[in-house]
């Protein structure tokens, strides 16, 4: 780990007619390092990846200034295909990275383009698939692979080029926790076993700090900090300012130091490290644990069910049929904020689609306020239950934000005055008034998501289902949509949120339903659900970091169902005498 393999000097870049996407970037990556770049959406992370792989300036043009040297090549002098022999790129969306009808062909594609002998290509296919743990799936079509497998397939396709460097641009943003874990463990293996250099951009702080050697923080196209994961996690204020998630345990120790004046040797980055530090502090008599009495929240008994899922079973047709839900029974109460959690393929989205009649169950029924919804068509249900799909671009087609929001209202055949009134209301709530005439597709992903949500909320449904509202979003994006959902919840709407983000579940949900292999595994408050980590593991979910720490510290008197850093700080006291 000595010689630099990536050197960037004074790099600036602007897209045509756009502001500066990168400003005076200077960075160095040594051979064999894992270097992460973090920053909010629009900070310049993807642009930087494109500059390193030669996509800028060879495919995407703009104002380019400065120098990039990567694996002894310069994108200004070397074409993308030349750089591709040493540098592999894996990006966010699997569907546009898997470009051939089956896996074997995908992995062969790069080596074929390099004109390598057939035997060599076959050898590389075998090796790349074995390293990425995709052996036996050679003849699978991309649509037959899971999200995690797809990203590993994209990695295998890059690996077959035998690169020295991997440039990974938010490769896990669309993956659930198990997919992310699989992917990061593979990256670590590629780095340790095969000596590959890795340059990765991500929003997943808690996961990346476990494998990265160094982290750069990027804000508005500029590098604002650089350091080891522990150093970076210590810059809590800066991380918050530039919209990067602070790991809960790092925040805890930062606040112990700042608010309670406790001298901590360093900022921990893993739960194990934090537990060990906390143990030391207790055993050395620096802190003591006192559990305050918690107010018991009022149960669900007072509320009326708005949706009742009764004995629902569903299988996708095929040979053999794919069983997605098995005898599911759930009651959803009026005015609650319910989180639906579980690994990919656990049946969450299938269940949500059944709730809005997009899918018809093979067995069982769904009642909305006591009425069997099979009596309604999708449009009728849409008046009562709003369903916001993951990708806003699948619904946006109008020329202005206002028209986009009006679309659903016109479909409901509402009077012109009522339509105007509702548009104004949702625009105020979603802070979209200034964007009224803007072309929706020219907006940022976060704003497009807001438009999509607003257009459904304008229809005034009693229940709102959000399908993975945080996928592909940065910290601000994640919170802005969920905060809006909470606001709507306070106004009486029932919210069902499908999510992999346990921090948000802990913070916002009243109740949680955990699904696994098409069955209901646990139902209860976030506190109850996260207190059962063994059962959660069946659906590959881990409680929030702070809850995991509390569970590790149970024998020291810390309640194992702590959900937030504030709650943890409440039980930690400076020891007297």
């Amino acid at each position: 780990m000595t010689s630099p393999i990536i050197e960037v000097h004074n790099l600036s870049f602007s897209y045509p007619r756009g502001p500066k996407a990168l400003r005076d970037i200077n960075l160095t990556v040594k051979k064999g390092e894992i270097v992460a770049v973090m920053g909010r959406n629009g900070a310049g992370k993807t642009t930087l990846c494109y500059c390193l792989t030669g996509i800028i300036p060879n495919i995407i043009f703009g104002d380019y200034d400065g120098t990039v040297k990567i694996a002894e090549m310069n994108p200004l002098e070397n074409d993308v295909y030349e750089i591709a022999t040493k540098v592999a790129l894996v990006r966010q969306v699997p569907d546009t990275q898997l470009i051939t009808p089956y896996l074997r062909m995908e992995v062969a594609f790069g080596p074929e383009n390099l004109g390598l002998p057939r035997d060599e290509i076959l050898r590389r296919i075998k090796w790349a698939l074995s390293v990425t743990r995709l052996e036996g799936l050679e003849y699978r079509a991309p649509e037959e692979l899971s999200g995690g497998q797809k990203q590993r397939a994209a990695l295998a396709a890059g690996l077959a080029m035998l690169p020295d460097i991997f440039i990974l641009d938010e490769p896990t943003s669309q993956l659930d926790s198990i997919g992310t874990m699989e992917f990061f463990s593979l990256i670590k293996e590629l780095n340790e076993k095969y000596g590959k250099t890795v340059f990765i951009t991500t929003h997943k702080t808690e996961e990346i700090v476990r494998i990265a050697d160094r982290i750069y923080l990027l804000d508005k196209g500029e590098i604002v900090a650089e350091g080891t994961p522990s150093e970076i996690c210590g810059k809590v204020e800066l991380l918050k300012k530039i919209g990067v998630k602070v790991p809960q345990i790092s925040e805890l120790f930062h606040r112990l130091k700042k608010e309670k004046g406790i001298n901590v040797e360093k900022i921990p980055i893993t739960v194990e490290e934090a537990a060990s530090m906390l143990r030391k502090l207790i055993e050395n008599g620096v802190i003591s644990i006192k559990t305050p009495k918690r107010k018991e929240s009022l149960g669900k008994m007072e509320k009326k069910p708005i949706i009742e899922v009764k004995d629902i079973s569903f299988a996708y047709p095929g040979e053999p049929p794919v069983e997605a839900l098995k005898n599911v029974n759930i009651q959803i109460y009026e005015g609650e904020f319910l989180a639906l959690i579980g690994q990919n393929g656990s049946g969450k989205t299938t269940l949500a689609k059944i709730l809005v009649n997009l899918l018809t169950p093979n067995e069982g029924k769904v009642l909305f306020r006591g009425v069997d919804i099979s009596k309604y068509d999708v449009a009728e249900i849409a008046k009562r239950v709003g369903f916001i799909l993951q990708n806003p671009d699948y619904q946006i087609f109008n020329l202005s934000v206002e028209e986009e929001i009006a679309f659903g209202l016109k479909n409901l055949r509402l009077p012109e005055e009522e339509i105007k009134k509702r548009i104004k209301e949702v625009m105020d709530v979603f802070n979209l008034t200034k964007l009224r005439s803007a072309f929706p597709l020219s907006l940022s992903f976060g704003d497009r998501k807001k438009v999509a949500v607003a257009s459904v909320i304008a229809m005034n449904p009693e229940v709102v289902i959000l399908d993975e509202p945080t996928t592909g979003q940065d910290l601000e994006g994640r919170y802005s949509i969920v905060k809006l959902a909470k606001e709507l919840n306070k106004k009486g709407k029932t919210i069902i949120m499908i999510t992999h983000d346990m921090d948000l579940v802990a913070e916002y949900a009243d109740r949680v339903v955990a699904l696994g292999m098409g069955e209901v595994l646990i139902v209860g408050s976030p506190r109850e659900v996260f207190s059962r980590p063994q059962q959660l593991r069946k659906t590959y979910i881990s409680p929030p970091q702070i809850t995991q720490l509390a569970q590790k510290m149970k024998s020291y008197g810390i309640p194992p169902d702590i959900l937030s850093v504030d709650e943890m700080l409440d039980v930690i006291h400076i020891a007297r005498g």
Partner: protein, 281 residues
């Protein structure tokens, strides 16, 4: 919807060079285009079905492939039965007498010749239903690409076709998601008033526009993916699958040529049907 999906089945056609299979499909099309002889078409169908069995393709493939062709088969059978004027004029079914614009064909009568001709159409289509999956289901996309390269098709066109194959399920899935997203905003194309239908391109704009816009953005991403895997490098490309004819291929091509020759002989020199006592078409 029918999908020409490659099946890794160990059978006769799986062992053949893709070029042989391509020649087979071309010669089968030529054979069934040349002959109208019912008996000859039946013989060709039996040969094709034997090849199907020898290639161990599941019956479900036939079902899937034949399903979308069912309507054209029935349509051609019915129209040919009433509209074909040649062959044996013995009436089989009379539902009236109608000779539009003084035509010599009475379209109210099904004659024996027309009935047999209608069956010949059905047999032709069935031959196609059997022949095409023998190529598509036993040839992997890599072999297909190699075959097209052997046929001297430019490499950019080959990969346009390959990516097209990949994109079919992507576009289908995208279209389903868009349809769901719009339905969830109360949109039902079929229930639109006429004025709205006209304004929204028969109601398709809200469905097609997001599909086009998202696919346009995908195409740029795909371009980046391809280029970052050295697509377009000025290097002579390797095709993973070597397209090479072996003895078994030459034997099979000889068999297909014999079938074609049989069709030509039956068509132009020795019609088979009269020999078997079947009436003329």
């Amino acid at each position: 919807m029918y999908e020409a999906r490659y099946l890794r089945i160990k059978g006769l056609f799986r062992q053949l060079c893709p070029l042989t299979k391509f020649i087979y499909v071309l010669l089968t099309i030529a054979s069934i285009a040349i002959t109208i002889d019912l008996a000859a078409l039946l013989v060709i169908l039996i040969i094709n079905m034997s090849l199907w069995i020898a290639s161990r393709i599941p019956a479900a493939v036939f079902k899937n492939f034949a399903k979308p062709l069912l309507f054209p088969i029935v349509f051609f059978f019915v129209t040919s039965s009433f509209l074909y004027g040649g062959g044996d004029q013995t009436p089989l079914l009379v539902i009236g007498h109608l000779r539009p614009w003084g035509s010599f064909i009475d379209i109210g009568v099904v004659t024996l010749g027309a009935f047999l001709f209608a069956w010949s159409i059905v047999l032709r289509l069935l031959n196609l239903v059997v022949a095409i999956p023998l190529l598509t289901h036993t040839t992997s996309p890599t072999e297909f690409a190699g075959m097209l390269h052997k046929l001297k098709l430019p490499y950019s066109i080959i990969y346009t076709l390959v990516i097209g194959l990949r994109m079919v399920p992507v576009v289908q899935g995208r279209f389903r998601d868009i349809r769901d997203a719009q339905a969830l905003r109360g949109y039902d194309r079929r229930k639109l008033p006429l004025k709205e239908k006209i304004k929204t391109g028969y109601g398709y704009i809200p469905l097609v526009a997001p599909a086009i816009l998202t696919l346009m953005s995908d195409s740029r991403e795909i371009d980046m993916t391809m280029r970052s895997r050295a697509f377009g490098a000025p290097i002579e490309r390797t095709f993973l699958e070597e397209v090479k004819m072996r003895t078994i291929d030459y034997v099979m091509v000889a068999l297909f040529v014999v079938v074609l020759a049989f069709a030509i002989v039956v068509r132009f020199f020795y019609p088979l049907a009269p020999m078997l006592g079947l009436p003329q078409m």
